[in-house]
């Protein structure tokens, strides 16, 4: 190619790009106009839903939406947001502020539910529920998210709990019997110690860097993050004990990577899947990872048992989080969106294997759910084991997170300050004190007391 030819080739390329970019816009408006004309003819009912990339790709969500359309005649259009579970809401936040009309938002934890519900972004469901005498309280019980103004903005579709997953191969290799449930944290530590084998690079236990690990013991004792007067309750001795307990697991007992090691090696949320850890204390959403053997090929089998309780016998609680659906205040199709939210809240659990947020289900319904999960796991975990670990035990249920005014910031503060304690750069008392002080300020700024 001579220079002249090269030049003209470049011009042609450029022109074609301009054309493509321009056409891209053109075709969009075309499709929009055909949409509206169709709407004029048939009045097709549509509901638009934000979904994160993971869920949008999943077979369950597609199936669920199809079944919904079959049952109600309402078509579902997904507005897929790329990015991980945190980034997704950064985009949705900006969308909301600029008046985007997508109907339904799924809110994956109580802090988000509170953030969207309490700040006037969601459509109140009360009138629609009243119209058809829908008794949400009866179906969802305490899982139904409450708001300061007494209204209902969110119907829950999932109430996750916590459990201990264990790697049977590591237990077998160490000649340790599998945990049988009904155990205390001391038993957990003793078991993990037997499994830990530094020569082979194996730790008996694995935990992540989520905020609630910093205070899980306090939550098990059902100690609130807020005092009656609305200020932070972090100076309660339970929080101090909980933070020390978590730090000691890595720093003193050495049954899991210390905080410093976890952070400086950038260990990841799916680290347990690598097969180097004996037990993993985590929420039940984690079950899905064991089903996915293409992403996580493994040569070991997994077991599940209930979470350990504090040795003092006063904190016999499991904890977990509620996720649910809300409707955008600016929704284009609010009534159809309500139908969607209701249907999903009632039926989601049948598709994804997550624990339902319904209190009106029969034993058979639950068993069917567990049997399905067990089948999907190729029988690695039986339905009965799931039931025993999660439902049929004598554990109570509390919220896993601290939720209330300023809870996002509260959570950040806990992580920042605990970080300094866990790497040994701040004393326990100073840490607790600065959490309390900073959290009080954050609560005040957020309009609490």
């Amino acid at each position: 190619m001579g220079p002249q030819k090269k030049k003209s080739a470049f011009v042609v390329l450029l022109a074609s790009m301009l054309l493509v970019t321009a056409c891209g816009n053109g075709s969009k408006s075309d499709s929009a106009s055909t949409d509206s004309s169709e709407q004029g003819k048939k009045k097709e009912r549509v509901v638009t839903v934000y979904e994160d990339a993971k869920r949008a790709e999943s077979v369950e969500v597609k199936k669920k939406n199809e079944d919904f359309t079959k049952a109600t005649g309402i078509k579902v259009e997904m507005n897929v947001v790329p990015g991980d579970g945190i980034e997704v809401y950064k985009k949705i936040d900006v969308d909301m502020i600029s008046g985007e009309k997508t109907d339904v938002i799924r809110l994956t934890n109580p802090i988000l539910i509170d953030k969207y519900g309490s700040n006037g972004w969601l459509y109140s469901l009360d009138d629609l529920m009243k119209k058809e005498n829908y008794d949400a309280k009866k179906i969802y019980g305490d899982y139904l998210p409450k708001f300061a103004d007494g209204k209902t903005y969110v119907l829950p579709d999932q109430a996750g709990k916590w459990a201990v997953y264990y790697n049977k191969k590591i237990f077998d290799d160490a000649g340790v019997p599998y945990p049988s449930g009904n155990w205390t944290w001391n038993d957990y530590i003793a078991t993990a110690k037997k499994l830990t084998n530094s020569a082979k690079g194996i730790y008996g236990s694995y935990m992540l860097d989520y905020d609630n690990y910093m205070y899980m013991l306090a939550r098990q004792h059902n100690v609130s993050g807020y005092k009656a007067d609305g200020t932070s309750n972090y100076d309660d001795p339970a929080f101090k004990e909980a933070l020390k307990f978590f730090g000691d697991l890595g720093n003193v007992e050495k049954i899991q990577p210390s905080w410093l090691e976890f952070k400086s090696k950038k260990l990841s949320w799916d680290g347990f899947m690598s097969g180097s850890y004996g037990m993993h204390f985590i929420g039940t959403w984690y079950t899905n990872q064991f089903k996915d053997k293409t992403t996580y090929p493994r040569d070991w089998k997994v077991g599940i048992t209930q979470l350990p309780v504090p040795a003092d016998g006063k904190g016999n609680n499991n904890f977990g989080i509620v996720a649910g659906y809300g409707i955008n205040k600016n929704a284009e199709h609010a009534e159809d969106a309500y139908t969607y939210v209701k249907w999903m809240a009632e039926n989601s659990y049948k598709y994804n294997g997550n624990l339902p947020a319904r209190v009106d289900l029969s034993k058979e319904d639950i068993n069917k759910l567990f049997q399905k999960t067990s089948d999907e796991l190729g029988g690695e975990i039986s339905a009965e084991e799931l039931n025993k670990a999660l439902i049929s035990n004598d554990l109570g249920f509390v919220d896993e997170k601290i939720t209330g005014p300023g809870s996002t910031e509260y959570s950040n503060i806990i992580l920042q300050e605990a970080d300094l304690y866990l790497v040994g750069q701040k004393s326990l008392d100073d840490t607790i004190q600065s959490i309390k002080k900073r959290a009080d300020q954050a609560i005040k700024d957020a309009g609490g007391k």
Partner: protein, 309 residues
Amino acid sequence: MNRNAKTAKSSLLSRVSQLAYRETGAALVFVLPFIIGFLIFNVIPMVYSVIISLMNYNSFKPLSMVKFVGLDNYVRVFHDPIALNAFVKSFLYTLFYVPGLIIFSFILAKLLNRTFALRGFTRTLILMPYVANVVAVSIVWSILLDPFGGPVNQIIQSLGFEPPLWLSGMKTVLPTIAGVNVWQSLAFQTIVFLAAIQGVNKDLYEAADIDGAGRWRRLWSITLPVISPTTFFLVITSIINSFQNYASVRMLTNGGPGTSSRVISLNIYEEAFTLNHYSYASAQAIILFVIVLVITIIQWKGQKRWVHY
């Protein structure tokens, strides 16, 4: 001749083309398209920033509920130890980062300008850290600088020194991040220096050779003065950028341990996107803007001493 003929016609077209011959007119034609776009795409968002910083948009609520609160957000910054600390951290970071970046990239550019085997190949390698994924960079350095028997600390230990905690130490974290970032962003400054060094008129070197000037003398009295406009550009923009690169800090430490590496850009980002404190974040951004502007104006005034156009 030709020009005069055109003027005689005095059609609109020729008057426009005449502009190119008059300096102010030419300037208008050259600058105006840019200025129009600049006003739309840069100035409007800037003005918005100033306005929103005077509002109480500090929670995730509809814009219609936002109220004017004057300078409250600015006052609040001065009572916020985390924000003040973040300004100080950013300042310290700049002190580590900018000199390191300018010195290393200049040396590297000088080296790459010499002839050696595989020069094109090596020059291309310089670009590698720059285009490498920021996650990959942070993971690689976490492994190399791992306080638990990472390769760097093993060497330090075998030499009989106390190995530092690097990214996990309160005192070491900022210089470590600065070092990693110098290494990673070296390519741009190096290539700009390289382009500038190539603009140095060879005649000047020849004349210096005749005068019998040594290598250092040539560097000092020819290369550095001639490329000083470029150096000036790099210093100014590196300082501006050093106050803004939250992306790498976020990946390397996310501000930790505690708040030891929480620089102001990260603080602003978190305030805006995690906590939805839009007004407060804007106020911090405007304060940062003023600080950087003052630094830049001081440099602008000071350039007469060392920049030779």
